[in-house]
Amino acid sequence: MRALYDRLKDRFQLGELTRQRPDLGFVTVGRDHLRALLVELKDVEGFTHLVLFTAVDWLEDGQFQLTYLLNNRATAQDLGVRLMIPREGASMDTIHDLWPTAETYQRELYEMFGIDFPGSPRVDEDFILEGWTDLPPNRRDFDTKEYSEATFAERAGRESHDPRDHMKQKLYPDGE
């Protein structure tokens, strides 16, 4: 994996390589080089399988982190390509022409995070949620509890405990 990184580092201006396991590493890349890097990995380096494509919401930094996880069957290696995009008006280039499965991931990200992928097929169609009208639910500023209380009828008499205090009370009733 180190050799692969050294080969690609300068051409695509990759960030640091983080190796989580001998067979799993992550690199960061700029938006301009993403597509070229993915094509290179897929067609030349043998990373032919898109394992997953997902996002992380860095609300405090105002950014989304996209992760493209690729797998090389022959060498049994996984490489994650990471990329930051601004949260506001989030939009990314579609890669459904490289991996048709990306279409599904992109529909999911569109619905759950509100990231646009112009040109991706059926991206504006409902994916898991039906008729969702609020903030995309996987954005961290979406308050699921508040939404649930406002939307769904509740049965009176339900008690909720803070698990930490509750267990403390139960296990050590007279303090310590």
Partner: protein, 229 residues
Amino acid sequence: MKDEKYTPLPRRPIGLDREELKKRTVTAPDGQTFEVDPIRDYYCQDAPKAHQRSYIKIVEDFFNWCRAESLWILGYGTGCGAIEMRPLMTPRFDAYRYGIQWRPTPRQANLLMISGYLSVKTLKRAIRSYEQMQNPKYVVGLGSCTINGGMYWDSYNTIKKLDEYLPVDLYIAGCMPRPEALLAGFEDLKKIIKAGGGEGANKYAENFEWYKANQKSVIKDWDMPDYNW
């Protein structure tokens, strides 16, 4: 921390605004043209009617005894509790000895088991299935998710109180209830029916407007007729 700057991305029309549910003119292979209004043409629009009781009590009691002794469950599982139904069908717990069996379609069933949490999407299917069942029909809610939301109490996509949306005859508590609890629940349901308490379908018909209003308040993508008979 709230980001106020989000502008919703465009979505395709949902519910009755869908392209395929709109009224349209169709040209048949033989050149004739005719209008198709999918929602109106393919479904009966009538609201359900309450079923009359028998004229004397002893006959009604006899009917209720018969109903209680043949509970046919729609083989439809939502949530984790559906797993507990499988051992019930098989020799270990063998629910068949109580006159209970599972059927593959709503038309052949009279007991709908809601076996756990219902997402809004599944609720729509559950309502359709319930409405397609023949009267008299019963609903049993399984597990704490159907009672008060269970551990999905703060989820953005699951309902928390089943009896707002469907007439529930009986709840079985637990997370998840064991097959023994289900068997006890079936026996309780039989008692309720024999005592003349299994009036869910009539309740549904009488309070149809209320149920529909509740259902539509959570199901935003309403793409079916009001009553799916």
